[in-house]
Amino acid sequence: MDMDGASVNGSPAGMDRKRWTYLDRILNRPGPFTDEEWVPGEPNIESLERMKILGAGGLGCEILKNLALSGFKDIHVIDMDTIDVSNLNRQFLFRQADVGRPKAEVAAQFVEKRVRGVKITPFCGKIQDKDEDYYMQFGMVICGLDSIEARRWINATLVGMVDNDDADTLKPLIDGGTEGFKGQARVILPTMTSCIECQLDMHAPRAAVPLCTLATIPRQPQHCIEWAHIIAWEEERKGNDTLDTDDPEHITWLYQKALARANEFNIPGVTYSMTQGVVKNIIPAIASTNAIVAAACCNEAFKIVTSTNPPLGFPGTNNYMMYTGDDSVYTYTFEHSKKDDCPVCGNLAKNLEVDPNTTLEDFIASLAEKPEAQLKKPTLRTEEKSLYYQSPPSLEEQTRPNLKKKLSELVSDGEQIAVSDPAFQITFKFKLVFKK
């Protein structure tokens, strides 16, 4: 270890501001749209330097650069991927020689070296590997994730963490995504404004072709590729190999299968590149769109932290920007409304005080008497356990023995349960707090 290294990051807040001449003008001078109560100067620098902020996903390179040059000092980054050669056309912190290395680590090292005084902590893994304790340390989360599943997960996690008595538990979530020349950026204040689950209809489901078309009447080159992918592989190779879409041998096999089938049906157009695109569900991606969307996200983060101008995302204001760049430039910035029946933020867990010695049966009976929700035929579970299911019959039978058990044997103090009842459209969530 180089002993001198410690002093590099050690400059106290407020010193060495010459570098931030341009930024400081914005932090030190009020503008026509800044809040009347806004205090210019030092407090804003402090907010930026104190804020521990997390970036995740494919927009990571852009996000790290933008945050570091927005004056943030304590940045964390999560990415599960290693660098692939096809990332190099846009993920500008990576070089040919870095191919195969973990993205989070390489990106963190690069930006720390380039921007003096910033601390970047990488984690190479999935966002789902981390729990609430981990996410609780951050003030804000910026995501450029490529899967809907990961987006829904981080959203539900941050919504679930909000404690109404503790301001620090509310972590604004800023989400960005791109496809070709298009993209979107949105700001979510968990439990306060429309969340990712409320906005699920903004993600079009992937178009699928009937299996029987693939099996018997293919018409398009893509049908032949899907056939090779779904049917031929299972029939011929499943026993020996699990399909790895990054293995060129596997893709080549699928390509040749698809090509042979296409020839059989006189269908033109199967190529290796198309095979890869269909099998891996490749979404076109370019540096410029990533730059636009990541910067839009970081601009909102900067405004939220410094209050130097109104950000997107406050209740009753716009929270969603769509960007379209393929036909001239068009943006649509609007307010996506919170859904009352949103399964994640529409019915938040309520505290329910219970005697841990009560049996599940008695607890269920007590739910029927609760004035605000008369749950006559409730079905209940925790994340881990099915407590009692009214139906289907086999599950009822399997969970019936739980009825005689004490709550303390089934749930732990403070654990969340979900209660559904045929009489209600929504599922209720309670946090069971044991009476002392």
Partner: protein
């Protein structure tokens, strides 16, 4: 996705597997032809101010593999640069900014050649009188502030040599860029929405298609369930159109009511005595009736191309686009239809039937291309055209004929202090934008005022560099007042030029709104925020790519970004072309 009629892209990358892999995600957007165009481009960045937006733009061009770039910038790296420009290192203070940003940008992609020049712009422009120093470059980026006379020089050169130019402002939370395109900038490959491109010609089937309908629907009633449920919907519609015509004096359904009746006719043909209670192919036919029974009239964009002087009056050096456009226009006159694109959407059908139908369309498309090609060859002979027009170009034009687009580039008007800006034909539209509270035109006007302010204030006694408003803490208020005054004059002149008046309270409201934007711009003191520079650099890079590849549709011609509301607006401005 459709199978292209022919491979429109040359296989330049076939020997370079590595490149194909590296650029895979973008080749899916602009193909090898677009990539080749990028690799042939040489972009010049004339950088000034904090200089971040220009460098960020280049980053987004170097990564996808632009051929060459050159940075012209005489500034030396200051401590302040390090807090806003990612392509500088802590040790670079005092070195030439052009040199250092060039070196760090070049690291991003070994395929790209970077150059730099540290001469002041005025020396660079005048260093040789016969060969203009801008000649080597294919596309030019200029960032504000710049002395208006120099900007005017550059604009004139670009206009004269049909060289696209991008003039970029980025200050605080706002940015504006204008694109000066050549007076005729045609785009063949506009990448229209795939759902908008289906052209089946159901109202005007040609003999081969009619023969196929006859062959495949002759025994419709006696078909077994499987066959009946797999007749392609295109043939179903054509079959029932014949049935309809028999009871309607040979006329096809033409209005909504008739089309609804026709839908019912098709629906009656569907078999419903099966487990599914219907047939998918008939459902497809019914769903397609309203949108596919329209006569295919060319869009106004296509008519504009046909009516263009360049199209009507070919010369010996007319660009290929116009020769083909003329031939396609002749084709349209002769057939009252554009060449057939030749692709069909996927539809419920047996494999062989679908392929057969697909081939009927493809064959007709090829015939149409052949006819247009013949005309092109004849025209070339007639006008003494030397260069042979490539057949691939003709094919691509015919395939996209309904979606071609002509952008008429308008000259950018530099703002000279104390001079009236000429809005020309765009004055009326600009005035109506003034009173629209959602319009961002006032940000553009604030930047015009910014240019005038910079041009009339020097950073030092040497008059070597313009001074941006708000660069000194003590003068923020004073500068804002002054710049607001300039903005108000621009607004008044605009209203006068449009020959109109704006009544109260609208007029005061405009004044208040523009004063706010001015104040927020002055607040930044000419400084850039990295996020806004990065975002604008992304937008400008997208535009450069669209212009270089001649694919997709570029901004025509001014784009405003508001980083407070996170919104953009495209304004069509620019000076009239003097005849």
């Amino acid at each position: 996705m459709e199978e292209p009629l022919t491979e429109t892209t040359p296989p330049i990358l076939q020997d370079d597997e590595k490149k194909r892999k590296k650029y895979d995600r973008q080749l899916r957007l602009w193909a090898a032809s677009g990539q080749q165009a990028l690799e042939e481009a040489h972009v010049l960045l004339i950088n000034s101010g904090p200089g971040v937006v220009g460098v960020e733009t280049l980053k987004n061009l170097v990564l996808p593999g632009i051929g060459q770039f050159t940075i012209l910038d005489s500034a030396e790296v200051t401590e302040a640069d390090l807090g806003v420009n990612f392509f500088l290192e802590p040790d670079d203070v005092g070195k030439f900014r052009a040199e250092r940003t060039c070196a760090l940008l070049e690291e991003l992609n070994p395929d790209v050649q970077g150059h730099y020049n540290t001469e002041p712009v005025e020396y660079f422009l005048t260093q040789s009188s016969d060969t203009h120093s801008l000649r080597p470059f294919t596309h030019i980026l200029v960032t504000a502030p710049i002395v208006p006379e120099l900007l005017a020089d550059i604009l004139t050169h670009c206009r004269a040599t049909s060289k696209p130019l991008f003039y970029i402002h980025c200050v605080g939370f706002y940015s504006v860029f204008s694109v000066q395109l050549p007076s005729a900038f045609p785009i063949v490959d506009t990448h229209p929405d795939p759902t908008a491109t289906t052209d089946l010609r159901l109202l005007t089937p040609w003999p081969a298609l009619s023969a196929l309908v006859e062959e495949k629907t002759r025994d419709l009633d006696s078909m077994n369930a499987h066959e009946h449920g797999h007749v392609p919907y295109v043939l179903i519609i054509l079959h029932f159109l014949e049935v309809w015509k028999q009871t309607h004096d040979g006329q096809v359904p033409s209005n909504y009511r008739e089309k609804s009746d026709f839908k019912e006719l098709v629906r009656k043909g569907m078999r419903i005595n099966n487990p599914e209670g219907g047939e998918e192919n008939f459902e497809e036919a019914i769903a397609a009736v309203l949108k596919s029974l329209n006569p295919s009239t060319p869009s106004s964009a296509v008519k504009e191309v046909f009516d263009a002087e360049e199209c009507k009056n070919l010369t010996h050096d007319s660009p290929h686009f116009w020769v083909i456009a003329h031939a396609v226009s002749d084709f349209y006159k002769a057939h009252n239809a554009l060449p057939l694109p030749g692709s069909i959407p996927d539809m419920k059908a047996q494999s062989a039937d679908y392929i057969q139908l697909q081939n009927v369309y493809k064959t007709k498309a090829r015939e149409d291309v052949a006819e247009v090609t013949l005309t092109v060859r004849e025209l070339a002979k007639q006008h003494g055209h030397l260069a042979q027009v490539d057949e691939k170009e003709i094919e691509a034009f015919c395939k996209n004929a309904a979606h071609i687009k002509l952008v008429r580039g308008r000259p950018i008007n530099p703002a000279f202090p104390g001079q009236k800006l000429k809005w020309g034909q765009r004055a009326k539209a600009a005035v109506s934008a003034l009173t629209n509270p959602d319009s961002l035109i006032l940000i553009h006007i604030a930047f015009l005022a910014f240019d005038e302010f910079c041009a009339s204030h020097d950073a030092d006694a040497l008059a070597s560099a313009p001074r941006a408003p708000g660069s000194q803490d003590s003068e923020v208020e004073f500068d804002a007042e002054k710049m607001t005054g300039i903005a108000n004059t621009i607004i008044d002149n605009l209203i006068n030029e449009a020959g109109t008046r704006i009544e109260e309270p609208d007029y005061s409201d405009i004044g208040a709104r523009v004063a706010n934007y001015v104040q927020d711009i002055v607040r930044a003191g000419g400084g850039e925020l990295h996020n806004i520079a990065a975002l604008t650099g992304g937008m400008v890079a997208q535009e450069v790519i669209k212009v270089v590849t001649k694919q997709y549709v570029p901004v025509d011609n001014t784009c405003v970004f508001d980083g407070v509301g996170s919104r953009t607006e495209v304004l069509r401005l620019g000076a009239d072309v003097s005849v």
